[in-house]
């Protein structure tokens, strides 16, 4: 930080030419107005000289303290940003479809938000206080650049909080006619505030990863052009990746809540409701998971483009082992998600005709996980390495490169989509006269997409790396086109379809619910591990190649150590979430008890 202090003294004025990609982003106008209130003198007023650079936290040290606070805050934040998205969609389905159970579902989602929202704010405050006390030098540096956005952040947070309260507490009051539309608008506003808050926070952390090219250790923080720092190279990729990931995460946590309520349910009605809720949670989580890898690919590509060294550390260097763990965990997600659907088919009349095919889909998924998780460089002892002739296996080595992995993951996505399709069609009998042709076309689309995926996967071994990278786009487009095409056909084909019988909601074996728990825990773990990969590639820099970490914790932690810290974060999060789940049930019991008491009083008065 000595260089930083020296730089502050020089106060060289360097205008940043990097205007980012999104200059037309509407938020620019907001920041432009807000910037009027930030005097340039004020921006320059604070000097970093003389500031204590680091504090010390007892027992675990500063790094672990800030790490845990940031991670747990992020997990809660992801939950409170993801859930409103599908709460508002569920409410819309209730309004437009006239089905009140969707409205009830949306309200139940929102009830979970209230406590989770407080927890998010508490952990946010813990994170801020720890940053100020343990990393004051870095904090001061960031505030000099981002202070305007911090003020706006607080305002938006205020709006978000009160919109949430209005949204929840006004639910029963504004439940009909025009008032219901106003209520739904509140839900949309809640999402807008929340997303804006996330975008602002994302700019701070992405600036630390990918500061504009002309910001150097000699650039005084007050001289860094605000918008250039805000809309840095990895800002928009992170925004997109996090929006989708929040939906996935929110769906998984809601699924886990439904599973918990299903397992403790005392009546068939409760079991039916929470079975259905679990299904919706799983549908949302798995549906969004299917597109998440594409957003992740975009983010990874932007990181590579920003800095090759960073990209190689992440994908080919010591962080590459995290991708093997990620492959395993995502494999678990695919397996658990499909398992839940297959078990669920047991309660759908007509699903028996599809059950014999699930074992083939299972084989594809298991082989996919094995290929995806095959390391490029294998963990082996000296004797094994000598027997293989190196750390690359002469035969399995071909599975360690991206051609094989892209092929595996795309086939797994197609298989999962096929499971959804079979689940969806299980109790329907199409009545349109082109049903057979439609089904053949759907099958042909699946076969064609699989052939395209396999063709480019194999062909990728025979072309230069730069060409091979482009093949993944064709594979992804083939899969996406199939998903869109098949769903479109299905929607029209099932119009006016006969039912083979009602789904027997609630008649799910309890073991299926553990699949929902596994989904939630695995997602949480994944977020922590891959978040570490993203953050850890900065190595010994607070701000990449601008502000060096000169603390005793500058060394990048070993993967095992990181895994332990992240697992502790997951444990803390789920302990708190379990408490929130319990509170959710408690609130309902309280409402029921008071309703029963009112009913009893009324009936007593009636008798007297």
């Amino acid at each position: 930080m000595a260089t930083l202090a020296a730089a502050t003294g020089k106060r060289k004025i360097k205008l940043n030419q990097n205007c980012g990609r999104s200059l037309f982003w509407p938020a620019l106008a907001v920041f432009g107005i807000a910037s009027q209130f930030a005097s340039p003198d004020l921006l320059l007023a604070q000097s970093l000289e003389g500031v204590r650079q680091y504090g010390e936290f007892p027992l675990v040290g500063s790094r672990v303290a800030i790490w845990v606070a940031a991670q747990v805050h992020l997990l809660f934040a992801a939950f409170v940003l993801g859930v409103p998205m599908f709460a508002v969609v569920a409410e819309a389905v209730g309004i437009f479809g006239g089905d009140s159970k969707y409205d009830k579902l949306a309200k139940e989602f929102t009830r979970l938000l209230l406590v989770a929202y407080s927890a998010t704010a508490i952990w946010g405050a813990i994170l801020s206080f720890l940053l100020v006390t343990l990393y004051p030098g870095l904090w001061l540096y960031l505030t000099e650049i981002f202070q305007v956005s911090m003020w706006i952040y607080v305002c938006l947070f205020f709006f978000e909080s009160f919109t949430l309260y209005l949204y929840y507490y006004g639910w029963d009051l504004w439940n009909t006619g025009r008032a219901k539309w106003v209520h739904w608008t509140l839900g949309i506003l809640l999402n807008i505030w929340g997303t804006a808050v996330m975008f602002i926070a994302n700019s701070w952390l992405t600036y630390m990863m990918s500061p504009p090219a002309d910001v150097t250790p000699d650039t005084a923080p007050g001289m860094v052009q605000f918008w250039s720092a805000f809309a840095n190279a990895t800002w928009m990729p992170i925004n997109i990746h996090r929006i989708i990931a929040n939906v996935v995460f929110g769906g998984a946590i809601v699924g886990a809540y439904a599973a918990y309520r299903f397992l403790v349910a005392r009546t068939d009605e409760e079991r039916a409701h929470y079975d259905w809720m679990g299904y919706i949670g799983n549908l949302i989580a798995m549906g969004a998971l299917i597109i998440l890898p594409f957003a992740g690919y975009y983010l990874g590509r932007e990181i590579y483009e920003f800095n090759q060294q960073m990209g190689i550390t992440m994908m080919g260097g010591f962080m590459s082992w995290l991708w093997i763990i990620q492959a395993f965990l995502i494999g678990v997600l695919f397996l658990a998600g499909n398992y839940y659907l297959w078990v669920g088919m047991g309660r759908i009349p007509g699903a028996e005709r599809f059950m014999p095919y699930t074992k083939y889909m299972l084989v594809v998924l298991v082989l996919g996980v094995m290929v995806w998780a095959t390391p490029n460089t294998m963990i082996a002892d000296r004797e094994e390495i000598a027997a293989m002739g190196g750390t690359h296996h002469p035969f399995l080595g071909v599975l360690g490169v991206m051609s094989a992995k892209n092929t595996a993951v795309n086939l797994m996505i197609l298989t999962t989509f096929l499971s959804f399709l079979l689940y969806r069609r299980a109790n329907s009998r199409p009545t349109v006269d082109w049903a057979r042709t439609g089904t053949i076309v759907q099958g042909a689309l699946f076969v064609l997409a699989s052939l395209i995926v396999v063709f480019y996967g194999v062909y990728g071994y025979f072309v230069p790396a730069i060409v091979r990278i482009g093949f993944s786009v064709y594979q992804v487009l083939a899969v996406l086109a199939t998903i869109i095409g098949v769903i479109t056909i299905d929607v029209f084909m099932l119009r006016g379809a006969e039912s083979r019988g009602d789904i027997r909601w609630g008649q799910m074996p309890p073991r299926s619910q553990y699949a929902l728990f596994i989904l939630a825990v695995t997602f949480t773990w994944l977020m922590g591990l891959m978040g570490f990969a993203r953050s850890g590639i900065r190595q010994h820099w607070h701000v990449w190649e601008v502000v060096r970490d000169t603390s005793e914790y500058a060394a990048t932690p070993a993967l095992g150590y990181a895994a332990i810290v992240i697992s502790c974060c997951v444990l803390i999060f789920f302990t708190l979430v379990s408490f929130i789940f319990w509170l959710g049930g408690l609130a309902e019991k309280g409402t029921k008890a008071s309703a029963d008491s009112v009913a009893a009083t009324s009936s007593t008065q009636g008798v007297s």
């Binding site: 010591f318 699930t358 298991v366 094994e384 002469p394």
Partner: protein, 262 residues
């Protein structure tokens, strides 16, 4: 016997055993029958594959209520029925003994070095010092590709390779040179799709010029006997041997992407 094999538990055991035999022996011995090189599968990968297979088997036996009941029935019988007491007692001895044996094998003292996570592609620095001059690696192309005759560069590279590299990396560039068996881990195979085929020429230049001692901290401990060839070769000689390596291995070097907007 066939009745047992039709039972879900029998099938599960059969699939698991089949998977074990295929991974442990099939991968090592079947491909060479068709002229495809292979080798034994490391224990870590065997464990990883079998773990995935076990999860798959558990999903198969439990995704259907009837199959799940059938699968559990014999286990339930052994655990609770009085006439299965002998089997129960036998399991009560065999299972802890197996766990004990595995634990013993895990913790018994060994002279072998532990298995390590090795980064085969450590991140390159943004720039290097080469014979007193600074070279920016990002965006750096092989200058010989734009000048002179490729045949001459190739011939020059071949001579340098034979004199300096072949003893370890082999005449077929497959990491099987005369000295290869003396190194553990062995020299890199350039035929492998996971080595130079994945890399830009500037990366390969950095590795050749700086060798094992120039590996970054994240590559430590070095685990590389590669010398720093900048002490023995000129810049042009290194670029020409790189041309030879790619031509001879039949790979195209990774090229740089078009400049981004930022």
């Amino acid at each position: 016997m066939s009745k047992h094999l039709r039972h879900p538990l029998g099938r599960a055991v059969l699939v698991l055993l089949g998977a074990y035999v295929l991974i442990e022996f099939g991968i090592a011995y079947l491909p060479p029958l068709f002229g495809i090189p292979s080798g034994p599968v490391p224990d870590t990968v065997l464990f990883q594959y079998l773990g995935t297979v076990v999860v798959g088997i558990l999903i198969w036996v439990s995704d259907n209520e009837t199959r799940w009941s059938e699968f559990k029935a014999p286990l339930h019988k052994v655990m609770v029925e009085p006439e299965k007491k002998r089997a129960r007692l036998a399991l009560a001895v065999i299972i802890p003994a197996l766990v004990g044996l595995m634990t013993f094998n895990q913790v018994k003292p060994s002279m072998a070095a532990p298995a390590t996570l090795r980064s085969i592609h450590p991140a390159p620095p943004g720039q290097i010092d080469f014979k007193g001059e600074t070279m920016e690696l990002a965006g750096l192309e092989n200058p010989l590709r734009a000048t002179g005759s490729m045949e001459e560069h190739y011939e020059s590279g071949r001579e340098i390779y034979v004199k300096n590299c072949m003893a370890c990396h082999g005449d077929g560039l497959a990491g099987r040179g005369h000295y290869a068996l003396g190194f553990n881990p062995g020299p890199a195979s350039f035929q492998d799709v996971g080595t130079i085929a994945q890399l830009t020429e500037s990366y390969v230049f950095w590795r050749v010029a700086k060798g094992g001692p120039g590996l970054p901290n994240e590559g430590a401990p070095w685990n590389s006997a590669m010398p720093s060839w900048e002490d023995f070769l000129t810049e042009e000689e290194i670029w020409s041997v790189i041309i030879f390596m790619y031509e001879q291995a039949g790979h195209e070097p990774r090229t740089w992407e078009e400049e981004g907007e930022h």
